[in-house]
Amino acid sequence: MKTVLSLKAINKSIAGAPVLKNLDLEVCEQEFVAILGSSGSGKTTLLRLISGFETPDSGTIQIANRVVFGAGKTVSAEDRRVGFVPQDAALFPHLTVAKNIEFGLTKWSPADRASRVSELLKLVDLEGFDQRLPHQLSGGQRHRVALARALAPKPDLILLDEPFSSLDAELRVRLRMDVRNVIAKTGTTAILVTHDQEEALSIASRVAVLRDGEFAQIGIPSEIYREPTDVEMATFLGESVIISGVVQGEKIATALGLLTPLNKVSDGARGRVAIRPESFYLQPNPKGEGEVTGRIYFGHDAIIEVMLPTLVIQARANGPFTPEVGMKVTVWVRGPVNFYAD
């Protein structure tokens, strides 16, 4: 597969404090990469470096096999062929939807321009809205116009800067899928920056987790969730119950019994085990060691707090019946778990 974006040893400091440290990243054609990080992790800065609004202190950026930064060369933002969808859509308030979309098509012939605009309007499902002004659109419509505007000049790469964060939850989920479908249809390579892990896992073909200016882990969503590289990742991305354990032969001895490791372990090693809340199975048992001490009910499932003789765990229980507070249960761990040696 062709590489569209390649970052090599990118460093960036803002006001003396390092924000991005020695970053490497390769994005292939038609990939949809989500860069996931909490606020202050440097994810927006990274996006601005790729788009050319800011320049790195050192490193190389290549887009579509062209060096846009590095070796003493800086290609300015307007010559990078990188589409950009900002957080608040930022439509030009004085231009109609059609004029907004064709803003980047000045070098096209009028006929090509018109057909491209109608093609994109159809793609983002806004046919008939071409003469509206931005303030006559709803929030979701505005974001779709912003996407169409960024896609119009057929950029090599499109960047989305937390594009859904200002929308309400329901609209966000719907728009997320719309955006993914539109980008997939056009075959555009995309990078999305977000702090929402559900968003990153559901929309992207690959997720890069940015932590303190470094990539803590890069991989496909299921891999990132199933096999976090360290204990911090296991708790940052989704929830995990962390308990200590010792490797005994093929198994890990813990307060919850002998567990099967998912990763390679060496006999006798001490460390910690991360267990996802949904990996627990709570079996009602009047003689069980565990007692249910708390319950948060969500409808489709519930978080159950269980007190065991030596520890307290949080388990996710689904199905029509969930344990009630005060019930005695036996706790089982389903499937293998991740072990991190100290």
Binding site: S51, G52, F53, S76, A77, E78, D79, R80, R81, V82, G83, F84, P86, Q87, D88, A89, A90, F92, P93, H94, L95, F103, G104, T106, H135, S138, G139, G140, R142, A146, R149, A150, A152, P153, P155, L159, S166, L167, D168
Partner: protein, 503 residues
């Protein structure tokens, strides 16, 4: 361009200092410590203090009445409170002097300048009252505080910084006022500087007095943040409260507000109308027309120059913020507080010495306008420029648009109407300018303001009437309309932003 503008702005003050040192320290000190100077100092300071206190009382009362109470007609009082802004203080002074014989001296100047500056306090305080969260007043009342206690312990601390700022604006205005005190024959620094300049070939007297005035102005500017106190950030969600019912105080408050409206608006209006009935029949129409054309010509030229430079500085300050651009922006503001007369005097010295060919030409007048009104132009330009947020520039760049194209295709279309409105406002304030025009204009060129001043100084009230009326109409009415328009667009913009955030 911004560098040139900042340079031009700072030059006169620096040059004034140089000239003073040339006159010799002994001579300057001798001028400064004459009994006459001390008398002027006492007069100026007394008037400044009296006006800022009374403006604070009047403007603060009006703001509280219209923003927080249930007095009938408070919407009308709100308009009436801001209306005197449309009338330059020397026109008000003329109107009163023409209406009442012997309207002269300290009390007269005090009244006129209070009328002229109370709106500044009113606008600052009512903005602060609208911003301040009224629910904290309700909480105070639920805790058992009476109305008076709420006013002194909750409301006043919340609006104090704004009120003090408004009062200091009044003080600076009073210090730099030239027209009103001259017409009313009250000797302050500005009046003395002008007569010293006109009556003697030795300019050291005028320069020394100007230096004292500059020192006082700087002292006030330095004292401002200390007097004002810290600005407390308030909760941005503003809840409207039920207006306070004043009870037995209602009729008293109404009478007070109505009396002030009669003094500040109705009396000058009556005077203007009455003297125009006399004046219009005897006036030389051609002369009025010439003055009008000159005024408009100066306003348009000065306004355009100030706006072009103001735009350059604003774009730098808004878009490319750095320590250097902020310094440029701030340096322009230093001269803003300086009396127009002082700037004009400094320009006289400067042009006499360095460029005698521009002395008493319209070019020097335009330079003076640039210095005096550049800050107005900058603040008028920044609001429309901020309407085009930086994100739009970035989106445009990501779509392959160069900076110049972005300016043409994005920023100008969005900010253009605001820029035009701002330019018109600047031109209108230039139209009302008196001292610099009086001192620097080309020989034989008369504007509305200088004609009014000339006629009034020989007590030819009827002959002055048409100029006064024209000044109020030409400068006042459009200023008021524009002000409304600006406020509306700001409100619309606010609503737009809220919608963007909400969805």
């Amino acid at each position: 361009m911004a560098v040139v503008a900042a340079f031009i702005s700072l030059t006169p003050l620096v040059y004034l200092a140089i000239r003073l040192s040339e006159f010799g320290v002994d001579k300057v000190l001798q001028n400064v410590f004459r009994p006459r100077s001390l008398e002027l100092l006492a007069n100026s300071l007394l008037l400044t203090l009296a006006v800022s206190v009374s403006a604070l009382a009047v403007g603060g009362f009006q703001a509280w009445l219209s923003a927080r109470t249930s007095v009938r007609g408070r919407a009308i009082f709100a308009i009436l409170a801001a209306l005197p802004l449309a009338m330059p203080s020397y026109v008000t002074a003329y109107a009163f002097a023409a209406l009442f014989n012997g309207f002269k001296g300290f009390a007269a100047a005090w009244l006129i300048l209070t009328i002229g500056t109370a709106p500044y306090v009113y606008l600052a305080v009512s903005a602060a009252l609208l911003r301040a969260d009224a629910s904290s007043e309700e909480v105070a009342r639920s805790l058992g505080a009476g109305r008076w206690k709420v006013l002194t312990r909750v409301t006043w601390p919340a609006v104090r910084p704004a009120a003090i700022s408004g009062a200091i604006l009044s003080a600076l205005y009073t210090l730099s006022d030239f027209g009103a005190v001259s017409i009313l024959g009250f000797d302050t620094f500005t009046r003395a500087i002008y007569s010293a300049f006109r009556s003697s070939f030795d300019r050291s007297g005028a320069a020394s007095l100007a230096a004292i005035l500059v020192v006082i102005t700087i002292a006030i500017l330095v004292a401002e943040p200390i007097l004002r106190g810290k600005l407390n950030p308030t909760d941005s969600r503003v809840r409207r409260s039920v207006p306070t019912n004043l009870g037995w105080f209602t009729p008293i408050a109404t009478v007070l507000a109505a009396t002030w409206a009669i003094i500040s608006i109705v009396l000058p209006a009556i005077s203007l109308i009455r003297w125009n009935q006399v004046g219009l029949s005897s006036v030389d129409g051609g002369e009025v027309l010439r003055a009008l054309i000159n005024s408009v010509g100066y306003a348009i030229t000065g306004g355009s120059v100030a706006v072009i430079f103001g735009l350059a500085i604003s774009i730098l300050a808004v878009r490319y913020r750095s320590k250097f651009t902020v310094f440029l922006e701030k340096s322009v503001w230093i001269t803003h507080a300086m009396p127009g007369l002082v700037i004009a005097l400094a320009l006289v010295f400067l042009s006499n010495r360095l460029l005698p060919q521009i002395y008493q030409t319209s070019m020097l007048v335009v330079i003076a306008y640039l210095i005096l009104f550049l800050p107005n132009a900058i603040s008028a330009m920044q609001t429309p420029l901020m309407q085009a947020p930086k994100a739009l520039d970035e989106v445009a760049a990501s779509l392959g648009t160069s900076r110049l194209q972005t300016l043409r295709r994005v920023i100008i279309p969005i900010a253009g109407p605001g820029i035009l409105a701002g330019a018109a406002l600047v031109a209108l304030s230039i139209l009302k300018e008196l001292p610099a025009t009086l001192l620097l204009r080309e020989t034989g060129v008369e504007t509305l303001a200088t004609r009014l001043w000339n006629e009034t100084s020989v007590s030819a009230y009827a002959a002055a009437a048409p100029y006064a009326l024209l000044l109020v109409v030409v400068a006042g009415v459009p200023a008021w309309l524009l002000n409304r328009q600006v406020q509306q667009s700001v409100r619309l913009l606010g609503a737009f932003d809220q919608r963007v955030e909400r969805e």
